[in-house]
Symmetry: C2
DNA sequence: AGAATTAGTTTTCAACATGAACTATATGGT
DNA sequence: ACCATATAGTTCATGTTGAAAACTAATTCT
């Protein structure tokens, strides 16, 4: 007697036929997924944990081993009676390349199947207004170094992911509009295709905030949270919506743009053409102006703001409190609209944590009381690795969800 | 060479093993889904449309016929050469019961697999503050009449769906909080279980606005839209988010509560405990007060408002324009946040269409320019049938997505 | 009447997970 | 030492499933 759960957690009806082979694809993925949860384990335990039979697990694991996704790691002493199992684990030699282009830096790193960031390099560099070809050229170099290191360490890089601060069309590999670096309708599919020579899965483009939101979910403080709004304070304000332990990307793949929620219908015009957007109240520039901080590049101004806050400068404190207040307004609306009850703050908001979260909390309590528990606001600990790890992690997930793409036979 | 679509349209990794039999379940559903699109067709065309082989289609259709979900409808003259196909179609004798409890009426109807509303009855009745047992008792009577009519017409009612104006827990069959009828934490699972005697799928509870949003998608003006925000103006303001032709229900099943988006951070307190909520600006009571309409029940006041608007009463016009303006603020935020670009207005907002949509459009153009095309705001035509059809339709979808539940053997 | 064309069924086959039987390797008690 | 017991992993027969191809059926065109 069901009361209809299946109708609320909607799984849309299939539009393509199921083949017998789909079952194996699903179970290959299931094994990888379970290995991600269990770490090192044995075939017998995998069978018990997944509900598959021992026979099936053995067969599936054999395929995954020959695809280089799973490795055998000697005996697994269970310290109990019976024959000890042979240890199996995700193959740490399988990896994905993660890249990020941001306003004042670019970064590259290599993430293995188990989620360990193996190499990571950040290059400070101003990318705003630069020619995309030039920026991509330098990124190619940086990626090449990372790939070389990976190869030297015996890793196989199966895919790449690039995070950029703006709207992207992941499907076609284009950056639609990245205002903060001045890119508009840049097609990087061709560039991406040649980037990872061995990676038969190619290189995909992602939105920076969405990538960071996923990085928190998989590798950061969002682990185990399942549902939250990630708010990224870079030059603009980005966001990522995590629902049921997955990204809610929206129909076009660009949901989560919390920076252009209207927080005051009578508010000032925004660069997006609208008015009263959150970004005009809690964006980096808005806060600097309110705090009376002038001159220097972004990093210098942020340093000056932090110093002023440490010194108890009333103008700086008020500016940050105001940002937190409006951030809370936008978050309240989002919580109510999407039925979620937690937030993760990243980017500058993580840096400003001490001063911004009290105002944020108070504002949410005012506008959407009883939604947020005290410990449901978490601050990112991933820093500048977040977007890059999310982009690479998305590709790792692609491998975990579609391992059959890497099987030799067929 | 993929650029990673599969990573953006996230399909979370499986957590349960796939069996060979799952393939058939999926293909049974695929056939029903295609029949819903095609109407009457033939096995050969089904094979061409779905990608399955003719042999598989024949076998699947045979199962569905014996389950009473598909019927053969004589020859299908194609007016071309070759052997004519045997017509097959969704069995119009398979149906679901739809029910709605609202503030000042309750309704019942029976919807068949093809989406035709067979019986439909509305009873004007004030339910606010009444004892749930009493209301459910009267609804049982109404449902009984509908079921009797259905039986007399030879229909088989497989499941039921009830829409209520408030937060529900569909999984456990409870109404968590329905402020406008005064229900709080009412467990109706037991009542629901005994409602549809033959229906082995039971009766499920849904949120009224979400149900109405789905009704628009399947049977109303939302057909073919795929992505939109449905805004329901009843006593409160509800909403439903349709993404990729499915309901985005959120983690708890109650997403879409657009009525409590903050449209003015300095705004008045709301009954929800927050402040500046949309409902305080565009809710029924707020509009009546602004328009200077007093006395009478809701229906009478709405009639008075419409008369005043027709007469060109400036106060009434301003009140409705103001509601449209703030509705546009909340919609703008939603569009940006969720990356959607269309809206469907239902309930009172459909009634007030002529006066409210110009202000709505202007407001969206001001706060989120270039998001909305002129023809991307649509008005519901389903009226009081919307919620009921959505609730029944959700159960019809359950059958279409899980037809194996109704197969005799196994 | 016969060729052409389309619909639908039957037959054969390969992929796949299951379940049971079997082999392999450990521990613990006597 | 030896054997019962327990656990790990493999082998093999079986049932379900859709694909592919051959086949039968029904209609139109010439």
């Amino acid at each position: 007697m069901s009361t209809g759960v299946e109708a609320s957690r909607r799984a849309t009806a299939p539009t393509s036929p199921g083949r017998v082979g789909d079952v194996r694809r699903r179970n290959l993925s299931l094994i990888l997924h379970q290995l991600g949860l269990s770490g090192q384990t044995t075939r017998a335990r995998l069978a018990a944990d997944t509900g598959l039979t021992k026979a099936s697990v053995s067969s599936l694991v054999a395929d995954l081993v020959s695809a280089g996704l799973v490795m055998e790691v000697g005996l697994n002493r269970a310290a109990e009676r019976g024959r000890p199992g042979l240890g199996v684990a995700l193959n740490t030699a399988a990896a994905a390349l993660g890249l990020e282009i941001n306003v004042d830096y670019m970064a590259a790193g290599v993430l293995n199947l188990a989620g360990d960031l193996q190499f990571h390099q950040v290059v400070e560099q101003h990318n705003a207004g630069k020619d995309p070809e030039e920026v991509l050229g330098r990124l190619t170099e940086l990626a090449g170094q990372a790939l070389q290191q990976a190869e030297a360490a015996g890793l196989t890089v199966h895919a790449g992911g690039l995070a950029v601060p703006g709207l992207v069309d992941t499907a076609s590999g284009r950056v639609l509009n990245a205002p903060n670096i001045g890119w508009r309708n840049v097609d990087i599919a061709e560039w991406a295709a040649s980037l990872v020579p061995e990676g038969i899965l190619g290189t995909a483009v992602f939105n920076e905030a969405n990538s960071a939101a996923l990085a928190e979910l998989w590798y950061g403080h969002g682990r185990g949270m399942g549902n939250y709004l990630f708010i990224s304070g870079e030059v603009g304000i980005g966001g990522g919506i995590i629902i049921d332990s997955g990204l809610f990307a929206g129909p076009g793949g660009n949901a989560g743009e919390i920076g252009h929620i209207v927080v005051d219908p009578e508010g000032p015009e925004c660069s997006c053409g609208g008015s009263g957007c959150l970004e005009r109240y809690a964006g980096q520039d808005a806060v600097f102006v309110r705090a009376g901080i002038e001159g220097g590049n972004d990093a210098e101004r942020m340093a000056a703001l932090l110093e002023a806050l440490e010194d108890g400068d009333e103008q700086a404190l008020a500016a940050v409190r105001r940002a937190g207040h409006y951030l809370g307004v936008a978050a309240s609306s989002t919580f109510r609209l999407l039925d979620i009850d937690a937030a993760v703050l990243g980017g500058n908001f993580a840096t400003l944590e001490r001063w911004i979260t009290p105002a944020f909390h108070a504002s949410v309590e005012e506008h959407a009381p009883a939604v947020l528990a005290a410990d449901d606001v978490v601050v990112s600990g991933l820093g500048r690795q977040a977007a890059l790890m999310g982009a690479a992690g998305s590709r790792i997930r692609t491998v975990i969800e579609h391992p059959h793409l890497l099987l030799k036979q067929h």
